[in-house]
Amino acid sequence: MERVEVLLVEDDPNDADLVLHVLRKNNIANEVHVVEDGKEALDFLFCRGDYSDRDITHPPKLVLLDLKLPHVQGHDVLKQVRENEKTRSIPVVILTSSGLDYDITKGYKLGVNSYVQKPVDFDEFQKAVELLGRYWLTLNKTSIE
């Protein structure tokens, strides 16, 4: 199984398609896995349920996390990822429509690496996703390569 580079946690298929379009078009990431709710995201990251055959020692290079999610909210996903020794160091970037101070502060308190609000204008959206992808997938170093 090819190693997943980006885990996209996004319940809105339109947003998911836009992100995928930018990542693929700019050849930033080929292996992007999309999950539509927080519970599935946790199953993927902790290699359980449908993802029990995954290897936990091969985490994604980047998790793009939306906040408003069914079942388990984005902040709770982040909290559980940071509480577990095995998943603690995975880079997580919140990519959301919300620009609420509360959401931003809570995100950083829970240990998010970066917080990006999705711009309405697609040119800016494209720029933001491209920048994020290039930084975290090529420039940034993680302990497991």
Binding site: D12, N14, D15, L18, H21, S97, S98, G99, L100, D101, K118, P119, V120, D121, F122, D123, F125
Partner: protein, 401 residues
């Protein structure tokens, strides 16, 4: 006896009356002493004495004449004469004293009558005062009752205000939550419209006729504009909720930083900046920066048609804390100046100058949250000037609920 039991006026009157009565008693006593003996007796006793003495002396003289002692006789007659003269003088003096006593008595009686009169007057006044005192007391009671009622009303009013405030706060929170959720949830579909129309435009260029591409551009542009509107509204509502973080801020740094940030908007433009030495002010630096961004980008935008734009940023006169931003752009009609700071108010056509109509409303809200003042002066085609005045210091912290 204690004169000052509380009612001073009454006591003063009673003291005065007592004093009057005492002095009257003295006068009357004097009169009594002088008229202790009946006047007829007082007149006849000395005369009687003179006659008796005269008779006795005459007897003595005749006795002396019998014994032919003339020298003694002469002495006796002389003595008698002297005695008689003394008695006459004494009688005259008594009569004078008596007259004086009568006169004095009359005077005293007159005085007593006058004093009685005065006393009656004082008594009347005293009664008047008592009536007034009663009236005053009644008025005082009424006042106290009114005060009590007022206090009660105040308390219930305070209760009502508290209830109403709580209700309003709740309503406000709900409204904020609603605004936020609307703004937030509106952004997602706008992003999709904008995104997919742009992808369609870019990726399928060859297959699309120019007209279709034009429409796609319009769709993308409209979605983008609406996105800016939503962001502007979101920002405006956020400012209303934000607590001010007041610190001493150097306006020179703020203006310098904002000007640098706005460089991309000035590309290809001939703009002369005249920036004066600005003061330090007490404000929330993040919010004042937003004010500066709005005012400077407006100045850049509305001088777009000037061949040589001049933008001034100067301190306010008389060392008033704040600053002014003046340009030589299109200006506006001062008749519409009151609309300038309203939400969604625009004084220029959209095709001429883009914008959401939220910027200056946001600026005004920020300044009024600082207890400051903003106003503008302008003339069509001559330019506009915006004056931002902040309080000197000790900006009231906004109450946090």
């Amino acid at each position: 006896m204690s004169y000052f039991r509380g009612d001073t006026t009454r006591d003063v009157v009673s003291i005065y009356m007592t004093m009057n009565q005492e002095s009257d008693t003295v006068l009357i006593d004097n009169h009594r002493i002088s008229s202790r003996l009946p006047s007829s007796l007082r007149r006849w006793v000395p005369i009687g004495l003179v006659i008796v003495t005269g008779l006795m002396l005459t007897a003595l003289i005749f006795r002396m004449a019998e014994e032919s002692e003339w020298s003694v006789l002469v002495a006796g007659v002389g003595f008698t004469f002297l005695f008689a003269a003394y008695m006459v003088l004494l009688l005259g003096r008594t009569a004078q004293v008596e007259r004086t006593v009568v006169e004095r008595t009359a005077e005293l009686e007159k005085e007593i009558a006058e004093r009685k009169q005065a006393e009656i007057k004082i008594q009347e006044q005293y009664e008047d005062i008592e009536i007034h005192a009663l009236e005053l007391e009644a008025a005082n009671n009424e006042l106290q009752q009114t005060q009590g009622k007022l206090l009660e009303a105040n308390l219930s009013l305070e209760e009502k205000v508290k209830e109403r405030t709580a209700e309003l706060e709740l309503a406000n929170k709900e409204l904020e939550a609603f605004t936020y959720s609307v703004s937030h949830d509106l952004r997602a579909p706008l992003r999709h419209i904008n995104g997919f129309s742009k992808i369609l435009h870019d990726e399928y260029q060859e297959q699309l006729p120019d007209e279709a591409k034009g429409y796609l551009n319009r769709i993308a542009q409209s979605a983008s504009n609406m996105g800016m509107l939503v962001d502007g509204l979101l920002n405006l509502s956020r400012i209303g909720r934000k607590d001010l973080e007041i610190a001493s801020v150097d306006l020179n740094n703020i203006i310098g930083g904002v000007k640098a940030e706005l460089e991309p908007e000035m590309a290809g433009r001939d703009i002369e900046w005249q920036i004066g030495e600005l003061p330090k002010v007490e404000c929330d630096s993040v919010l004042i920066k937003q004010v500066a961004v709005n005012l400077l980008s407006n100045a850049i935008k509305f001088t777009r048609n000037s061949s040589h734009a001049v933008i001034e940023v100067k301190p306010l006169p008389n060392s008033t804390p704040g600053f002014l931003v003046k340009d030589n752009g299109v200006g506006f009609d001062m008749n519409y100046a009151d609309k300038l700071f309203g939400v969604f108010e625009r004084l220029h056509r959209k095709l001429e100058f883009e914008g959401t109509g939220i910027g200056l409303a946001t600026v005004q809200r920020i300044i009024s949250n600082h207890n400051g003042r903003i106003w503008a002066e302008a003339e069509i085609d001559k330019g506009a000037a915006f004056y931002v005045e902040l309080p000197f210091s000790n900006v009231e912290e906004k109450e946090v609920s």
